[in-house]
């Protein structure tokens, strides 16, 4: 009797041990499915877009204006519109972000308003991008009378990307070792001198990485620009800050919403161009970051 109970207990224990061994393999396998889904999705998306659009890739796609005929249409005005708007947004956003980050980390200390400022930056990051468009329309386009212009779009995108770039800039500044600051202060440097000669030279590459990531985010934004510029059919290059404009994602949206197959292929070709530009920007950002880390390790 006792023997049997003992034996039964032994069997149960062995079973449980076996189950645990199996689980030890199954759980990481199941977890890796999460990553696998992401990769599978990316690959199938890219394959689909390339299979639809590769045949339509041509110089005319880059250099021609949009047209009602999908075989002749290009995205020249959209590419130039993106370069103008996003470039200008970067010129506004990156210096602002760097200055904000410097103020928060080097000047404000732990005072209550620096916490309020950080809190507001976090709140700004949570505003849906389409709401930025609505506010841009009400405040910049009509309120300040800028019209549906490049400058209105650029300001909106700049404020939209500001919190992201600021966060990266703060991170960049935090990688600068405290003792280097203290060393400079001990020699009698002012805060500005510490920022200029100690903090900025060391943090700048990573700040620029953040700036590039912000730019590539702005480049893909369609919703706020749609609200600001409307869905325009533009066959002119933007020539001034007050020109009407369109951007690449919006031109794509226009083509996507036409049901003909030729426009679907045109849209896919345009998507390939946009993704190629984003890939180039991201590679640049990664390259900068790696150089930055190498320099950190070398001291």
């Amino acid at each position: 009797m006792d023997d049997q109970v003992l034996k039964g207990g032994e069997v149960l224990r062995q079973r449980a041990a076996k189950r645990r061994k199996v689980n030890d393999v199954l759980v990481p396998l199941a977890a890796s499915i999460g990553v696998f889904v992401a990769i599978a999705f990316l690959v199938s998306l890219l394959l689909y877009v390339v299979s639809m659009g590769a045949g339509r890739l041509s110089p005319s796609l880059l250099f021609e204006y949009p047209s009602a005929n999908p075989r002749e249409a290009g995205m020249r005005s959209a590419i130039l519109g993106s370069v103008f708007t996003v470039g200008l947004a970067g010129l506004i956003c990156i210096p602002l972000s760097i200055a904000t980050a410097i103020y928060l980390t080097e000047y404000a200390g732990n005072k209550w308003w620096s916490q309020v400022l950080s809190y507001n930056i976090a709140n700004l990051a949570g505003v849906p991008s389409v709401v930025f468009g609505v506010v841009g329309l009400g405040f910049l386009v009509y309120g300040l009378g800028l019209g549906r212009s490049v400058i209105a779009g650029a300001f909106t995108l700049a404020i939209l990307t500001l919190p992201y770039v600021t966060v990266v800039c703060v991170e960049a500044i935090k990688t600068v070792p405290e003792d280097q600051r203290f060393g400079a202060y001990a020699l009698g440097a002012t805060t500005y001198e510490v920022v200029r000669y100690i903090v900025l030279p060391r943090a700048l590459p990573m700040m620029l990485t953040g700036g590039i990531l912000g730019i590539s985010r702005a480049l893909g934004e369609a919703a706020p620009i749609l609200v600001i510029s409307g869905l325009l059919f533009i066959r002119e290059d933007p020539t001034s800050l007050l020109s009407e404009f369109t951007v690449m994602p919006l031109q794509l949206y226009n083509w996507i919403s036409r049901p003909q197959l030729a426009f679907q292929q045109l849209a896919a070709a345009g998507i390939i161009v946009l993704l190629a530009i984003l890939l180039a920007l991201n590679s640049l950002a990664i390259y900068l970051r790696q150089r930055f880390y190498r320099r950190l390790e070398e001291g």
Binding site: V37, L42, I256
Partner: protein
């Protein structure tokens, strides 16, 4: 080195008064710059509120919040937000239902199982998903996912439908869950894992019964933040969801979300000062208030539940 030597020379060549003056000027400049984000928030709130106030002189707040008909662009206008709100909640719920299991699984894999090299390679791949422009997701949903993938399973699926929108937004916000949960789990102290191992726990037990529960506040917050992000997604809903503001729970049908309504009005160019134009701001304000509330709760959850080690 050269830089440091030069800076020493530079510092020595200026009088202390001038250096202090430069420092003060710089400080004021940086302060001004840092105020921009706060000013932007004020402008956002002010602009939305003033236009919404004009909107609510024509439409009662009660009708707006409880009405079941949204016909802003028809001759006979009704402004009941419920159809738009319902569609927004349904697509976002589908999105979170996709993003939570996949994102959490990816986070568990990345933080607990992947080696340093695999992690360095795979984390950027996962994060790429949220870097793809959303018009691309819309395109993929409308021309591939709905007709070639989902129609195989559900033959009577509409060309525009809420299901595909939700699924695509789910993929889009999955990196939010993965990345924030990964951070939360990596913040769990090594001591806790070691203590569990010393009691004879296997790795999966440590992961599922120690690490995940300890990181639960961060994981919950990541899901809430993903939901807030999903609610604001515009282009996927505008392209693949259709412009049909109906109060329906059938995800096989087209339905219009709040951001998608804003996109439709923007496409059609509502003249400045009309009630359609003003309705953009009322919908925008409503959307902002909901997402802001969600973000606030998300941050609170992290603070309240975080176990202090």
């Amino acid at each position: 080195m050269a830089e440091q030597q030069r800076s020493v020379i530079l510092l020595g060549s200026k009088s202390i008064h001038r250096r202090n003056l430069i420092n003060r000027v710089a400080q004021s400049t940086f302060l001004l710059a840092s105020l921009v984000s706060t000013v932007a928030l004020i402008v956002i709130f002010f602009t939305l509120t003033t236009e919404s106030v004009s909107f609510f002189t024509h439409v009662s707040v009660i009708e707006f919040l409880t009405g079941t008909k949204w016909t802003a662009l028809f001759a006979e206008k009704h402004f009941g937000i419920l159809p738009l709100l319902n569609a927004t909640l349904i697509t976002s719920a589908i999105a979170v239902a996709v993003a939570t299991p996949t994102g959490l699984a990816a986070a568990i894999y990345l933080s607990e199982y992947a080696g340093k090299r695999a992690r360095g390679l795979l984390k950027p791949v996962v994060e790429t998903l949220s870097g793809i422009p959303t018009v691309v997701y819309g395109y993929f949903a409308l021309y591939f996912v709905t007709p070639q993938l989902l129609r195989g399973l559900i033959p009577d699926l509409g060309i525009h439908n809420a299901l595909a929108v939700g699924l695509m937004i789910g993929v889009l916000v999955m990196p939010i869950v993965a990345s924030l949960s990964d951070d939360a789990m990596r913040a769990v102290p090594e001591d806790l894992r070691m203590a569990a191992y010393s009691l004879g726990a296997r790795k999966y037990q440590v992961v599922l019964r120690v690490v995940v529960p300890a990181a639960l506040s961060g994981i919950t917050a990541s899901v809430i933040l993903a939901f807030a992000r999903a609610m604001g997604e515009t282009m996927i809903a505008a392209i693949a969801g259709g412009f049909r503001p109906v109060l329906s729970f059938d995800v096989k049908e087209a339905m219009q979300t709040m951001p998608s309504f804003i996109a439709q009005v923007a496409t059609g160019d509502a003249p400045h000062g009309t009630i359609e134009y003003q309705s953009l701001f009322a919908v925008g304000l409503f959307l902002l208030l909901i997402t802001a509330a969600l973000n606030f709760i998300g941050v609170r959850v992290v603070r309240r539940w975080t176990i202090k080690y």
